[in-house]
């Protein structure tokens, strides 16, 4: 396993220095030091992000895009600089990044736009939209709703017993118009074979839409090289504020799509009888955007970039390997998802025989360990693996090997407490 990791000894990864930037990490919970392993749900925010937002709001705040006064110019410049930073973070151009409120909005934006008048594709009976059985509800329900509105049919790739996509033939057909899939599963931790999926979609001329909520925070991304059409992620899972998400697409493609929401800033000429719309990205940013949150997200990108996404990925891989190893050694614990380090991220779901996930999570919380329990907004995955819910531990840049050990000890404690050891 260790060969998969870059040599961390020559470039020591200073996790303690990183931890000092996150106030909450020195907090106690139920009398124990907080062990925060719920990062796949949301991450904490370093003071650099909070400071960037506050400095902006206290000295340069104004609405953007609409004024000639100094604050308005400064705010617009700061907002557009944030767009450029976020774009550069994923290897994209400035005018390819749309700010939304979260990845859920990014995906709904696409699903609505494609079904709206003026869409470059007509969707109706006989047309097919393909997703996977491991989608987060945010990349499943919008497509179900689009199918309901248009009469198109939803199809999906199923899952193998070891938590991978079953890329069966016949799912993607000549009738497939859109292939929407998660890059890295938030429940299973699986990293999907993006090039393979893109190849299959392109072969039939289908549009690819990628839910990258769990990949952008955890691995270096060069979106221009991926060959995908639309790519969406969310700020709060990558050290940024809540209230801001991103949709990426080439400007020509974005500008060929009809608008989603109507309102201020997304228009060109408005008359009572009808309106014309601005090109992207403005076209998709109706109303006052999440100005200070975009600036916070850019600061988060700078912070992650300063550490290095490759080094964060290596750090997480080491923690994940320790966790999987440890879980394997505890009897009565079953991992839901890939049990090896191959093509997997740091989200590890598991069940403890005889203890309901709610009770696992709550018992861990009583000793300061924060993990997530439930269906993780991916209910069909639970159903597929025959469990009502799972417990999920997910590490990030600021977690330590010691915290993983605390979790493993905690699971032994859970077993003892519930009498299943």
């Amino acid at each position: 396993m260790t060969t998969l990791l870059p040599d961390l000894t020559t470039t020591p990864y200073d996790v303690e220095a990183i931890r000092r930037d996150f106030a909450v990490l020195s907090r106690e919970v139920n009398g124990r030091p907080l062990v925060y392993l719920d990062n796949a749900s949301s991450t904490h925010k370093p003071r650099q992000v909070l400071d960037a937002e506050r400095a902006f709001v206290e000295q340069h705040y104004s609405n953007v895009h609409r004024g000639v006064h100094t604050l308005s110019q400064e705010a617009t410049a700061a907002y557009e600089a944030a767009r450029a930073t976020v774009a550069a973070f994923i290897g994209a151009q400035h005018d390819e990044v749309v700010f939304t409120k979260n990845v859920t909005e990014s995906l709904n934006l696409v699903a609505y736009s494609l079904g709206n008048p003026g869409s470059p594709m007509t969707l109706g009976h006989g047309d097919e939209i393909v997703v996977t059985e491991m989608e987060h509800h945010s990349n499943l329900v919008p497509w179900q709703m689009l199918c309901e509105r248009t009469g198109a049919t939803l199809k999906w790739f199923g899952l193998t017993d070891d938590g991978r996509l079953d890329l069966a033939d016949g799912v993607i057909t000549e009738r497939t118009k859109v292939v929407a899939f998660v890059h890295q599963s938030n429940l299973l931790g699986t990293v999907n074979p993006l090039p393979e999926l893109v190849r299959m979609a392109k072969a039939v001329g289908a549009l690819t839409v990628v839910d990258a909520a769990q990949s952008v925070p955890h691995m270096p991304i060069d979106v221009a090289a991926l060959g995908v059409d639309l790519f969406a992620f969310t700020g709060h899972k990558m050290l940024g504020p809540t209230g801001v998400g991103v949709l990426w697409g080439r400007n020509e493609l974005l500008s060929s799509l009809p608008p989603f929401m109507g309102g201020g800033s997304m228009i060109e000429v408005v008359e009572m009888a009808g309106s014309t719309y601005a090109p992207a990205p403005e076209r998709f940013e109706a109303g006052t955007p999440a100005i200070s949150q975009a600036i916070g997200l850019a600061a988060a990108c700078d912070y992650l970039g300063a550490i290095g996404l490759d080094r964060i990925a290596a750090h997480e891989a080491a923690l994940t390997a320790t966790l999987l190893d440890g879980l394997r050694r505890i009897s009565g614990v079953r991992v839901i998802g890939p049990d090896s380090m191959e093509s997997r991220g740091s989200a590890v779901s598991f069940v403890v025989d005889g203890v309901h996930p709610h009770d696992v999570g709550q018992t861990l919380d009583e000793i300061g360990i924060a993990v997530r329990v439930g269906h993780h907004c991916a209910a069909p995955v639970c159903k597929r693996y025959g469990v009502p819910a799972t417990t999920r531990a997910s590490s990030y840049a600021y977690n330590t090997e010691a915290e993983i050990d605390t979790l493993l000890d905690g699971i032994e404690h859970v077993k003892r407490f519930w009498g299943v050891s």
Binding site: N30, H356, P357, H358, D359, Q362, T363, E366, V373, G374, H375, A379, C382, V387, P388, A389, F417, W418, G419
Partner: protein, 150 residues
């Protein structure tokens, strides 16, 4: 862990649930699910002469939902429907109190062990699952018997 959610009473009911298993006779059966965690319960109610004669159930779920259903059966079986319903209301009120209510031991007996649950919004739904199913089933049972009577 004196502040633990998991009071001994709760653990006892979880490990040795009272009145568990589905029995006859019954006038109504309902199946309730908590979609956020997959907890499920099936509840049967037998009412006669305005009295809760029996409540039987089966289900899967976390300790809180299982124990609370067990406590519920203790509290309602054998009581006039009105009285049982007011216990359900008292329990609901306790659960919505966010830890601010002093529970009434006379009314809720073992149910007071759940007072701490009210501080955990995510678990309140678990604690209420069996109770809500019982209320629903009882309403159906009453409607069914009234219909027969008329």
């Amino acid at each position: 862990m004196s502040e633990s959610l998991y009071q001994e009473i709760i653990l006892d009911h979880y490990r040795n649930p009272h009145h568990k298993g589905l029995r006859e006779p019954f006038e109504a059966e309902v199946h309730h699910v908590n979609p956020t965690c997959g907890d499920e319960v099936t509840v049967r109610v037998h009412v006669a002469d305005g009295v809760v004669k029996d409540v039987s159930y089966d289900g899967v779920g976390c300790s809180i939902s299982q124990a609370s259903t067990s406590v519920m059966t203790d509290l309602v079986i054998g009581r006039p429907v009105d009285e049982a319903m007011s216990k359900a209301d008292a329990f609901l009120e306790l659960m919505q109190s966010k830890g601010t209510l002093e529970p009434d031991e006379d009314a809720l007996e073992d149910g007071i062990a759940f007072a701490g649950v009210s501080r955990y919004p995510a678990r309140v739904k678990c604690a209420l699952l069996g109770w809500m199913a019982w209320k629903d089933a009882t309403a159906q049972a009453l409607a069914a018997t009234e219909k027969e009577a008329s």
